[in-house]
Symmetry: C2
Subunit: 226 residues, 2 copies
């Protein structure tokens, strides 16, 4: 038995191991790689709002005096094929230099535009849902991946039914799958909750789908165990 220089746990020779040199080299490689890529990222990241703006976006949420979010056509067009099409084709957005974004809060719009410039956003459950819908509408795949990962990792018993309902409504497959796995594993606990009763009243068809998934999983497990 020997002690691992990293986790300090004893391991036997049958497990296999890496010599100190290889381990340290790999560790140095991680640090160097992080350093190089982060320097590149810092260089390419633009703070938003920046100067020389040639377009403004508004959240079209019926506010009488909506606050403009300044941006650059070149950046919007580079990050979203849908915005590119709107700006390229001499549509009214391109001519007026104004883009109205429907069904979205001002905060979500700001976060959306900021993400287009920095590839960063500080998410909570609600913002992730809003941005995921926007990323789908404007085809910003990187933001879509980002929000989906967040929502999957943020899944818990409390939000599993509402997250499933949301994902199902917009057909976000990875979230549907992850939520279903959690729900079908905790069906007994969920059935006594208010969220369950509410969903049953609001959308019994959806609940039915969950049960079908549950039983299909059970059948599979039994088949595997048989």
């Amino acid at each position: 038995m020997r002690t691992c220089i990293s986790c300090k746990i004893m391991y036997s020779k049958y497990q296999g191991s890496a010599c100190r040199q290889c381990y340290e080299d790999l560790k140095a490689k991680v640090e160097q790689c992080n350093e190089d890529l982060n320097a590149k990222l810092a260089f390419l990241t633009m703070p938003q709002p920046a100067s020389f703006s040639d377009v403004v976006l508004f959240a079209d949420d019926d506010d009488e005096y909506p606050v403009p979010v300044p941006a650059h056509k070149a950046v919007l067009a580079n990050r979203s094929p849908v915005l590119r099409a709107m700006l390229d084709n001499e549509m009214k957005e391109s001519l007026s230099g104004t883009i109205k974004i429907g069904d979205v809060s001002y905060d979500a719009l700001r976060a959306f535009v900021n993400f287009l410039y920095t590839a960063e956003v500080c998410l909570d459950q609600q913002l992730a849902c809003e941005l995921l819908v926007m990323s789908e509408k404007y085809q910003v795949q990187h933001l879509k991946d980002f929000c989906q990962k967040f929502l999957v990792s943020n899944l818990n018993l409390d939000n599993s039914l509402s997250t499933y309902t949301f994902a199902h409504q917009h057909n976000f497959k990875p979230i549907i799958d992850a939520a279903l796995t959690l729900i079908t594993a905790s069906m007994d606990k969920l059935a006594s909750r208010d969220e369950y009763t509410e969903l049953k009243e609001r959308d019994p068809g959806l609940l039915l789908e969950i049960y079908e998934a549950y039983f299909s999983k059970q059948a599979n497990t039994q088949w595997h165990n048989a």
Copy 2:
């Protein structure tokens, strides 16, 4: 003795080692980190020339019909404080939307602007020298680091004297140091070369500095060995 799972070399227990799990975890972390950062980089990188350009650059190399390099004020200003100052302060560059870049070839200008958009450039010795001077003039630190690293790693006996001369002329400290180390270690071989004779005729003072560095290094070595 055991065999390392990475380099396959035998090592003794006194060297220390990492268990397979820790080594594999670290390896997976490298890959994940690379994947995440590269996705972020791909998202933030803008191809140049892009649409919606609001400024053009010209290489001011006395060409009667210079070829314009299109760009965006916002990007130039974000990457170079010098260009920002030119564009911010209603100087003639900002008003005309035209920036003349002196003492530079068209190819170097294109590579320079492209680097501002992508943080990438394919260097050779001459381009690295041109871009290093530009990065200094326009205070693009990331490009400066990039070119300096290239020139240091590209140092060899053939280019050591010319690289030293170039670096000395512009006071690029890391290159001066690296070139001096190589030159003083190979003084006997260099003294019989044409480059040496040429430098002796053109700039004897510079050669003198090299000799001083050589003898100060010798004195240090003798002192250490004493």
